[in-house]
Structures are given as C-alpha cells and as structure tokens.
Symmetry: D2
C-alpha cells in the first residue's frame, strides 16, 4: 500500500509543487511517511514521517528545484516504520545516480537479497526497494544500458511492482509483467510527462491522462522524448481486484475502467440477485456509497444516509476499557435514528476483512431501532491474505478465513448476509477472470507464492512460464 508519482517537466519552474499536489491526491494510499527526490544539478531528497502536509512546507519545496522528480507516500506493511525505510531510495554508483520509488510487494525479496549479499552486495535497509535498486544498478553496471538493466531485473523479480525511477538523464516508469499494481501516464503542459499510481493525481494538477503503463512495460522519458520498451508480454494480466473494490479513490480510472462505475455496478448486480425486502439501503461511508447508490437504483429501494461520519476523529486515543472501545465506533459513525428506526435496512460495505467493525456497526443500527439489518458486501469473501502489496491480516484473523457465510452472519449479527459472487465481481470490472488478481479470494495467486512463503497453497500459474 503505497503511491508513486514521477514528473518530467524541464520547463516548469515549480516541479516540486506539482509532485507535492499529486502526492496529496494519493495520500489515501499511505499516510506513514512520504518523500520527494528531484534531479537538478544534483539529486536532492526530502523525506519524513507523517502525511504530505506535515512533512513538506514552502521552504522544503523551494529547495527541491529540478527538471524531473519522483515522489512516494508509504503505508508501512512491516512492523518497523522508520525514516530509514522511507522512499525514494537514492543510490550513487560508478556511472551516476538512481532514485527509485516503489508500490508493490516483491515475493522473492529475501531470496534475492541473499543472492545479492552472496555476490558481495551490502544492505542498509530492510526494504524491497533496496533489493530492486541494487538489482538494477548491478545490471546497469554490467551492461551500460538502463532499459536492458531493468529488463534483466524484471526477470528476477517475482511479485507486484509499479516503479518510478529517476536517473541522470531520464525518468522511467515500470510496471510488473502482470500489471498487478496500477500505474498511469499523463501529459502536463507542452513537454511535461507524468506517471502516477492513480489518475486522480493528474486531475489535481490539470495534467491529462494519456494511457496506462502496460504490464511489463518500461517507459523512458528524457530530453529525447518518450520511448516505450516491453520486454515482457505475458498471455495474461493480473490487475488487483481490491484496487477497484476498496483501495483506489472512486474518482480514479484504473486500466481504463472508472473505479466509481465498477462500484456502482457491483451494487446493481447485488440488487439483481437479492430478493430481500427492505425499506432502505444505506452505506458505511465513505467507501460504500457508490455500491449502495447502485443497489438503490437497480432495486428501487430508497437510498438513505443512516450513519454520519465525524470528520474530526482521526487517530483519537480511546480510554482503555471495554466500554470505551465499544464507544469508539460511535465517535466515528453516528446512526441517524429517525432514518433507521423501525426500518428494514440493507447495509452495504465494500468488503469485510476482520469483521469486527461490521459487528459493531450492525449493533449500532439495531440500537438505533433498525428492525432488520441485511448486510451486503461488494466483493466475495476474503479468505487468503494478499501477498502482493495490500496490507491484510493473516488468514486466521480474516473472518472468512475458514468460515461459511452463515457462520460469518452469525458472528456479525446480521439478519441476512450476502457477498458479491466472483462472477459478478468479474462482470462489474469488465475484464476477464484471467486478467485479474483474485488471490485473496481464491487463494490462487498469479505468481508462485508458496515457494517463497513456505505456504502450501494451490498454485495457479507460475510467473515466467510464458
């Protein structure tokens, strides 16, 4: 869970500001740390713990002058959350400098790290990103060709990665061969080129979306223009379904597909299968709103706001007692009694991970007088943890880990519970099943995980077989 931005804009005097605004638009992808590296006469980096707004100010942005730059927001997936792991990661080698920002998860990072160590490489952090950086630098020093170096590295990397790289003469966008994490490309002004994890980053700075970086593609932007290379062309793709369902912003367009419309459609498809009679449908705000609106439209049941979110409750500390923890959800979400009292309520959420919040919210609705609560979920049960870049709990913490839908319904206390089917999910997204990563639902990952994670999971397809 990270977001990346890359901007090549030699004629723009305020490059760092545009990267900053773009990172602000991607803040939902990571709030733990952030950073920007620009290349002017030298490479200059500013990074820090906290949100984009907290880390940067006029003074720092003014100090980041250059012709091209990359930025990163990070949500720590490892326990350690040190500044030393913040990105971009900058490496100076014999033929120049390279800065790198990464969104994704390298499944065989440990194996590669050990191989690199065995080859004499020393490491200063515990991140995947350092592994990627050294792989690329080594190949580059061997071949003298950056595209070749990246291509060779891609052969070795197993997992998900959307990268932006800043070299001495180019800005480079790279996407893994399966296109698991998103990466889009846009144009800004006369000669500016921008990469970003999501298209919302283009919107805020009036850049224009051009196209997605293709799975396995390397796009090099320099004074000599934009050049595309595609050393990998696999017969399948594996776009993360969770980006559509929850993680990306609703106003982004991913792989050509507007996220908002996928969510609306999931609500509509759910409505088609659903014969439950209800007085209203209400979302858990904000993420489930388009699902509930789609459901309402398709089924004719009125859409109502049943829960009001307190926008000021962020990382509030809570009195450490059972009673207080129960109150915690109420600090964030307050039920509208007059909308709910005596009503048969369809409650929509995008997904259920642990189930704890669902249970508490259903209990809130009942406390507000709801006569029935019918839980509807915008994606199939999450049964396996993600290994490819989404932060999820272990299988035993997933409520759907080893339970039937009926068991889950009982635990969360709903009158009925319906999940979106895999077919409906695929249909709503509008891609073929073989173009999606559905690992967290099916346990069948598009890359060979078991070997690296020492898990016994059914292997779906081996990376590189193509």
């Amino acid at each position: 869970m990270c977001g990346v931005v890359g901007l090549h804009a030699p004629e723009n005097g305020k490059l760092s500001y545009y990267i900053f605004y773009a990172l602000l638009a991607l803040q939902h992808r990571g709030q733990e740390s952030c950073g920007i590296t620009v290349r002017g006469r030298d490479f200059v980096t500013e990074k820090g713990m906290g949100q984009v707004n907290e880390v940067f100010n006029f003074e720092k942005l003014n100090g980041l002058k250059g012709e091209a730059g990359i930025g990163h927001v990070r949500y720590s997936t490892t326990g350690e959350s040190e500044l030393f792991n913040a990105q971009p990661f900058v490496v100076r080698h014999s033929h120049g400098t390279i800065a790198i920002a990464h969104n994704g998860n390298i499944v065989n990072a440990e194996e590669l790290r050990e191989k690199l160590k065995a080859a004499g490489q020393a490491f200063v952090s515990t991140t995947d990103t350092e592994v990627i950086a050294h792989l690329i630098v080594r190949e580059y020093l061997r071949t003298g060709d950056m595209v070749e170096a990246i291509s060779m590295s891609m052969r070795k990397l197993v997992g998900s990665y959307s990268l932006v790289l800043l070299t001495d003469d180019a800005l480079i966008g790279v996407r893994d061969p399966l296109g698991i994490r998103p990466l889009s490309m846009g144009r800004m002004g006369k000669s500016g080129v921008i990469f970003a994890s999501e298209t919302v980053a283009f919107d805020v700075i009036n850049a224009e979306f051009e196209r997605d970086v293709k799975p396995g593609e390397i796009v090099v932007v320099s004074e000599e223009g934009v050049h595309s290379h595609r050393p990998y062309k696999l017969p399948r793709r594996a776009h993360c379904m969770f980006e559509y369902v929850y993680f990306s912003r609703p106003d982004s367009v991913l792989n050509g597909i507007p996220v908002y419309e996928v969510r609306e459609k999931l609500g509509m498809l759910m409505a088609e299968e659903d014969d439950t009679e209800a007085d209203l449908v209400t979302p858990i705000p904000d993420s489930a709103i388009p699902f509930a609106l789609g459901y309402s439209r398709a089924k004719g049941v009125p859409y109502r706001e049943g829960l009001i979110r307190n926008r000021y409750v962020g990382r509030t500390f809570i009195l450490p007692s059972q009673q207080a923890r129960e109150l915690a959800v109420k600090l964030k979400l307050n039920p509208l009694v007059r909308q709910l009292s005596g009503k048969r309520v369809v409650l929509f959420d995008d997904s259920i991970v642990r189930g704890t919040t669902s249970r508490r919210i259903i209990s809130l609705l009942r406390g507000a007088g709801a006569k029935e609560v019918h839980m509807r979920v915008g994606c199939p049960p999450i049964r396996s943890p993600c290994m490819l870049g989404i932060d999820m709990p272990t299988r035993s913490e997933l409520i759907a880990g080893g339970r039937s839908v009926e068991e889950i319904r009982r635990i969360i206390g709903a009158d009925t519970l319906r999940y979106t089917s895999l077919e409906a999910l695929v249909k709503a997204i509008g891609l073929r099943e073989s173009e999606l990563c559905l690992g967290c639902i099916t346990g069948r990952y598009p890359v060979e995980i078991a070997r690296y994670q020492q898990l016994r999971l059914p292997v779906y397809m081996e990376h590189g077989q193509a």
Copy 2:
C-alpha cells in the same frame, strides 16, 4: 461559532474523558482552541490552541479529576486568536469560584464592558465571556443567590448565549430568552446530567437526550437534584435558521427537530417548485447531501455523486499564484467526469455566502463536461451579516448583499439559480416564522442590533419589550 458541554457526574471516575469525547463530537463548531475545567477539590483547567485531539492526551485528562466539569471548543470570530481568549474562563471571587463557557455573541458587550469598567471592574481579556462572568459575579456578590444573579445578568445581556457554568456546588445551563443558540440536556448513567450545544454529544457517550433547555431558562444541577428556573418567558423565540441549514451536524436534533430531516425537506420543497429538466442532481459534499437526496426523491431525478472530496486536504498551503488558487478547489473536490459528461446537472449547496467557491465548482463541472449546471440553494439569499454568533463576512462581501438573483447567477456562471424561499425554509423547519431568527436573510434581527452596532438596519423587535 462555538460549542459547549457541561457534565455533572459525581459517581463517574472518568468525567474528563466523557467531556473530551463530547467535545470531539462538537469539533465542527470550532477548531481553533478548546478547554476543559473540572471541579474536584479545586478547579482545574486545561486549555490550548488547536483541535481537541491535539490539545488533550491521557496525561492531561487524568489530571482533570472531579465531580463536575465544563468544556468548550472555539472558532475565533475576532481577529485575535490567543490562548488567553480560550475558554472556559475561570474567576475566583470572595464567595468562591465560577467557570464559564459560552456559545453566542453579546451584542451590547462593549457597552456592558464600559459600564463595568466605570464601576471599577478591570478586564484581562477582550472576550464577551469575561463580560458575562463579571456581570454574574457582581450580581452574585450583591445578592448571594446564583439564580438571581444569572437572572439579573440576563436582563442586561443583549444577544445570543448558551452558557454552561460551573460553581462551587452546581453545574448550570443557561439559554438566552430567545433561544437563539441551541442547548440540550441529557442524562448519563444513574445520576449524571449533561448539557451540550448539540445532541450528537450525547450519542457518542451513550447519554440520553432529555429535552432542550428552554429559551430564558436556567437549569441548576447539584447534589440536591435538578432545578429549573425561567425568569424570562418572551412571547416569541428566535432559533437560528443557519444551525438547521448548515452549522449543526446533520445527526443532531435541535429544538426537537432533526436537522437531517429539515435538510431533506428543503431539497424536497425545492423540487416541488422547480420545473427545470435535468439528468441528475448532485450535492457539494458533505453538507448538501441530504438536500440533494430530498430533491432527488421528490423530483424523481437521479441522485449522483459528482464531486469526490479529498479527506486529507486540510489546511494545505497553496502556491501563491492565480493558477494555483484555481487548482486549490480541485485538490479538495474532484469532479467525476463519467457521471457528469454531457449531463444536465442540478448542483445543490446548503447556502451561498461569498459565492467564490460556487463559481469555482460550477467551472469545475463544466470542465468535466456538464452540459448545463443548475444551481439550487438550500436557504434564501444571505443578505446581512449575522450579529448573533455565526461568523460571516461583512455585507459588502456577501454575494447577495446588494444583488438580484439574476446578477448572482451571472457571477457564479450557472445556467439557472434558485434559492429556497423564506416560506419554504419556515415550512421545512416546522416552526413559525416568529420562532426563528432570520436576521441574515431579512436584515430584521430579533434583538436590537442597530443601537449597538451603529448600523441603520430596520429593527424587527426590541429585546425586553415583552
């Protein structure tokens, strides 16, 4: 624009936490400074600049032990925003101590301050609250009766005020004779009594709403129980209409009327009068959502989310250039092109004050491809500044200050513009016109403002004539 809380809960060991949670629920009423005073063996106060979450922590709350306490969140209406003006305001006099927190605006504060000064009273701040405190203390020292002292002070105070007072043996809730600002009363646990500006403060701590404090009422809570006094009973009320339209949280119930339903109804009434044909209705989030939902329901035009709000953009600094200021609104609100493109859009907002934001958002929608933009506003034109506690610009800055609706439409660039009529507003709230303060719409204030503000405004009714 402030929020107040008072809690009498001698058997609750964690009183300060409950006040803290209640203030969190009222945070929307003021984010500049906040404070809590509790009465245990002594009066202890903690206050600071910033939001409730930033000012308080476990250590500070644990230091606030007591049987009763009051809290305050403040939005500075004056230019100065010093800690010294933060509330509660605590005064120690010959017969004890009094702490006071205030929501409202005293119109004749300067006159009273001068009178008190002339009588020998010295002042250490520039707040209305200190004026109120000294008025009450002086009357109390004269009469020895706190209820009498408050009653006498109420005779002198012109303006709006919802007060919570903490004395050596009581917690007291007071509301001005016209009931301009809200103040509700609830029960918590076996013996706890709570006052708060809005009922949402009760919800988060599982307190139960009992009733509103009546206009002109003084409610005294002590070991001897709850006693009500009502020295003032005017033939009219003047509940602020803007609390219903914009300022209060939608999940609050004000003067017995659920705010959410008023807003929905305003949308419905607008729909009834509106013959414009449109493809969809969309709100400016979050405040205009219930208006737009009501409109959609009544008119049958589909409700759509057309603008996505970036939750992480708070007080972001913006590059000081024209271009950057234009981008600023996009950082906060991103239009959903696919929902809007080629569509005839009804855009709903709760109110228009300066008009600048409306103009920018309409321009955004057109940029996203909207074929027509029909602006609908949930209350009548705001033509006069509020003198009674809502922070508004001067008349000349109000876009409706001296302009016709057609002129406003042209400035903001809408295809059509319709405001809610005064009649519809009164109908939606469900009170009589004589029970509302409509000063900002009509220029006729329920208390005599002109005398104190040296303005020539048509006087509606003199305070105290009853």
Copy 3:
C-alpha cells in the same frame, strides 16, 4: 526569583529587540516562562513557557512594536507553572490599561486577595501580581492619579517587590520601601530610559547605568520626562544578602556595589580567619570562582580548577537508581585527578542549602585522591527559608535548619567546615547590618512574616512603623 525589564524608547524602532536582549541577560533569574508587553497604538503581549530564546523569534519580536514596553522572566516558586501565571499581567479598566511585571514576594498577598474579593474583585490567576495590579487599579480609579494609586497600594503591600508598570502614557519603576529586591535605572540613546533587575541588562544593549531606584521610590517616565516620587522613606533598608552571595550575576552592580567584588572579598575575609594548611583552593564552578580567587590571593594558597563542568548537561534525565543518582553529579562536574590527587584541598562554595550536592562533590574529590577536603562557604548557615522572593526549601530541608556546624561537617563528609561569619558578610558587602535583609540567616525578617505565615518567628521590625 524573577527578573524584570522596562524600556521607554519612543525613537527606537526596535524596542522589543532591546527588551529581548535585556531579558537574555537576566535569564539566570528565571527560566520557566517569560513575556514582553509593549504599548504602541494598543497593548500587545507575547508570553510563553520556556527560556527567552525558545519563546521569542523574529516574527514575534517584529509584532511587538511600540514606544515603551516591559518584560519578565519567571522562576515558578509555586507548584503550578501555567502559562496563565506568566507575566506581564495586563488589565484593562475604565480609564485605560495597565501592564505589570513583578519580582519579589508579597507576604500578605492572601489577606489582600481576600479583602479585594470581599470588595467585589474577582481573580483569574493565583499570582501576587494580580493582587498588586488590582490594588493599584482600584486606587487609580478612586483617585485618578497613578502615583497616588501606587503610593496607596504600597501602604498595603507587605513583602518584597520591584515592579515595572506600563500605563497608557508612562513607564513606571517601583521598589519596595526596604529595597529588598534590586532595581536599577539606566539611559539608552538620546531619550531612552530603562529599568532592570540587574545592571548586566544595561551592558548587553549599551545602555548606561544611571542609578538604583531608591527603596520606596516611584520613578515615572513619560513624554514629559522622568519624575521621581518617594512616598516612603524608612529609616532602614533591607537589601537581600543572597543576591550578593549567589543569585545575581557576578558582573552586576547592586545598590552601587559590584557583586564580583563582594564575592572576592568574602573569599579574602574567609582566608584571614582560616589557619588550615592546604595545597590548593578550588571552587565549585561557576558561582564560587570569585570566592576561591579571593581566598587564594589573601592566603597565598594556589588557586586551581579541580572540577570541570559539562556545559551540555542541562535537564538530563537520569536512570532512576541509586547508582545512577550518584553518577548524576559526575555528569555535571568531573574532578581533575591530577590537580587533586594527594592534595589538601580547600573547596569553596557560595552557600549550602540542602547539603546533598556538597556531600556528593566532597565524595567525588576524595575519589579523585584528595587527601583532605576543607569546605569553605561564602555565607553564614541558611537556617530559615526566605519569605521574600528567593526559592528555598522548608526549614526541615535546610541542612543548617537545626544543626550545628560540626553536625553538618559530618553529614557532608568534610575534614573541616567553615562558614563565613555574619560580621564578615556585612563587612564584605560594605553596608550596615540594618541595611540588609538577613532573614534566612537570622530568622529575623525585616517585615512581619509571622502574622501572615502563621509561624512563630522572632519579629525583627514591623513594616510601616516608620
């Protein structure tokens, strides 16, 4: 323990900077909070917790524009150390505004506060300063004459006070009738007049010392020049001996007497009475250096640095164990083994309060090989707590509280221990005994303490008998 500054400099555009520098020079008098109030078109105040350097910056100082101003550094003598007790204290009354900064301790503050409360005055802090302010304001409102108001207030105030006041048209310096705390007056530039607790404040800004404010004097500085009033002329004075011995900076000149020379002379007088044979004399740095130099010179015994102070150890946190506490003194003071080993050492300190540090340092010296340690103290035994402005522990915590010199010697572990005699102290300062406050040594205070403190102490002289 506080420091005050007052500056009238209408032609100086950077008045606040000069007050800031002067406060820096007085920082040793209080590090807990500080503040500056200036009078330009209005009264503007900045205060905060912490040292002068931490609280102020260019931006704040630039915001403090005016013709005259006062400043304060504070060392909290009460447990509470809130910003609300920080000075200057500003009061707005019917005839204007008054700001006040105070160094000293009002013995009958509680009595006066109760009387003022009984007369209807309410209080917002727990400081003596607010008592002084309201006394003066009340008299001023009664008489309309500020000098008269201050004179009348002085009749009521029992204790020590050096005050600087800022009124709408004057800067006023006031010193209590016994002159307990210091207050000097200087000239700056063509028309500037400055007051400060110590003359070092003049040195740093190139102001010229003119004279001390006389005990009981009121000096009024305004556009009409400098006018002196002296409503009180007592037959005696009571300059605090501890200012000479420890509290004031060595480079200050107090009541016409250079502090440094008093300390040197105390060392010399000690030498005259001392027949102990030693190899060297060494001070506890920094305060005891002039004592030891004087001793060395008079006795012919070599002066050596035996302890090196670590300048970077401030408020360091120490591991909470016995061993660690023992190490704590070593973090601050490291013995020079080569200077001390095998030597008979005279160790000089300015005073002994609790004795704990003396014991630890003597133990350090022995650990460094000192053959003998002869402790010499620059003032007589401190047997009673100060009631007049110096922060001291209670009598039972004072090592000399109820103990003989021999008992103290045994506790601190010295081979011999000699205190300066009262006669020597008086001689070194060069004033008559009746011109000094020796309360902490003799228990006979120059003002009647017992009545207010409910202690049975021998009364030396009643304030006001003159």
Copy 4:
C-alpha cells in the same frame, strides 16, 4: 569533529544508558546529530538531529537492549546536515551485519569511493563512513576474517580515523596508523570493555581507563576476551596538536597526557618568554582558563576574571544590523569593568582562527577601561586548514593565512600580540615533534594531502612509506 563510544557489557542490563551518558560527556565533540546502535538478538539503531539530550529519552533507551553497542556524536563538516548522514552506519551483508562509527577525515575518500563504484559498489550517503564500511565489508567477504579485512582496509585509507565497529560477535576499536584522532580503552565492572574518543567518557560512568588504543592497532572485544592486532607500526606518530590546545575537554587524558596540564604549561612557557609588564592576566572563558592560570603562576601576575560568560546564550538569533552584530559578543561575554578599568591586561586565548572574535573582545576590554591589552595565544599561528578532521575555514579566511604577527596585531587591535612558539608547543605536550600532527601550523601534513586535494602544499611525509 566527532566523538565515538563503544561498549561491550553483556552482563549489564542497561548498556544503552551507559553509552548515552558517555556520549553526553563527549557532546562538545559534536552537537549536530547523534546515534546509538546496539546488538542484541538483532541490531537496533536510534539516531536523530540534535544533542544527545534532545534525541534520546527513556523510551528510546529502553528499546536499545543488547550486549554491546556503539555511539556517535557528530559535528557536520560538510554543508549538508541530514539525518541520512548521521551515524552509526549499519550495513547488512551476506555473512552478517556491521555497524560503524567514525571520528576523523579520510583524505582519499573520493578516490576510494570512485574505485568502489567502479567495482560495482553503490552508495546511499555522501559520508566517509560509508566508504570505510564498504571497504571493510568487501575485504571481509573476500577473506572471511574481520581483522584481516580491517588491516587490508587500513592499507587503503589515507587520513585520520578512530573507529568503533560492532559486528555479530565483537566490538572492535581501530585507530589510524598515525594516531591522529584520540581513542582510549577502559574497563567497566567485571567484564565490560569500553572505547571512547576521550577519557571523560569513562569518568562519568565509573569506568576505569586502561590504555590508549595504539596508532595502527585493532582491538577486538568478544566473548573470547580482548585481542590486540597491530598490522601497522610506523616509525612516527601524528597526534593532533589541536586536541590538546582546544578541542578535547580539559579533564581528558590524551595519549597518556592530561590535557589540562598541557594548557597550564603552555601558559607557563608563554610567561617565561614574555617580558611585558601587566597588572593582571585574564582568559577568554572557558577554554583559555588553564592557560591564563599557568601564565599567572609562572609570571607572578595576578589572575582575574575579566569577562563573564552568559550561559543561556546559545544559538540566539541576532537582529541583522551592524550595531546588533557588535552587541552579539556582549550578549555572550560581559567585561567586568571594575577588574579591568585602568589596568594593563594580558588577555589569553587558546588559539586564533578567523580573528573576528579576538578583535571584538579586545574592543570590549578597551570599552571597559583597560589601559593596555596584550593578547597571548596558546598555540602558534594557524596558517593552513586542517584536512584531518577539525572543522576550519579555508586558508584565505584564516587570519594568519598570509599575514605576519604584526599585521594580525594591528587587525585585532592589541597593544602586543604573542603566539606560542612551535618549540614551546612541542615541549608543553611532551612528545617529540615527529609524534605530532602540526599540519595546520606548518602546512606539512603527516599524510599526503596534495594529491587528493589538488593543492600545492609542501609534502611532509607520505603515508605508507614505512
């Protein structure tokens, strides 16, 4: 200008605290950043910008549990002062982990960095320390023997370096073959071994000094005891003379020689050569005190404190005007007029670098009435910048760069000016000239600088000729 500490204390449960206290004692060697790495089950590091007291707290120290650890304080000699350059520097390689802290300056760092880059090594910082780390790691991976790896690296490193290294099973202290920077070794408790830049670090934690690490020595401390290796034994040494004159704390013992005594002796030797008649000698505090005391003793002229230092003036911001800059020195040092007025003053300083401060202080003394000011300096003129670890300005900024003593005297405004002679300096330290680094005085450095710095300087001796 840095300080290092290494502690092996497997039986001590509070290892990080002892490193913290030791760093506090070395704080004068660097205040910009600091850090501690410990090896427990894993390597854990805490570092930050600021002083030891600011960066560490109980929580952080408690998190640093282990059997051995190293610490560092840093004074940035490069313009950039980023956290990323803070030490210790930790590298994970194929056979384990190594952490390193460094005091000194590698003259051929750029050359080595380029060679390492050419061999495929990538760099993440711009520090010498990373160069040293990679050199050692590479040799270690090649040979599998850490002592051999360090020895081989020492052959390549030109410059000054005192290192502490933490490996998976040992703590290692290393000193460059000329012993330019200090490094001492001590014992703590039953089995603890400590290294530190100065012996004061031992004093504060009751460790006992054992011996200095020898030039070119590698001391390995592990569970198997302490083992010394000395791959390099040059016929000469080159202990930095500036450590004795200014940089080290006076209470340290360097290379067996107490710093305090060197400084005293320098004062005495100056006195012997000096026929100037004077009334008193006074130091610029604190560093010049022992010089002045020595001078006083040898010459019989009285020692006096003529300047009082304000301990609270640290990094104070100064009004940016000429007048204010002149006042700046007075904020820090206030002359004691009564000691100086009408007197012939010998003013002692340890050294003169730029001369600006000397000029201002002499002007201060004259302003305080000094009749004559005779400047005496504790070391010869500094004519060349240090290339080996002391932060100094360029040659053109050094007042003695191209000027005669008479010219310098005129610039600083002294009546007479005498520098210590090279012979006296050598004599006071008590080593032979060939055992000292006198590069900044003679321009003849003990290692070949010119080749690496592209300067034309007379070469004294080539490193490695032995």
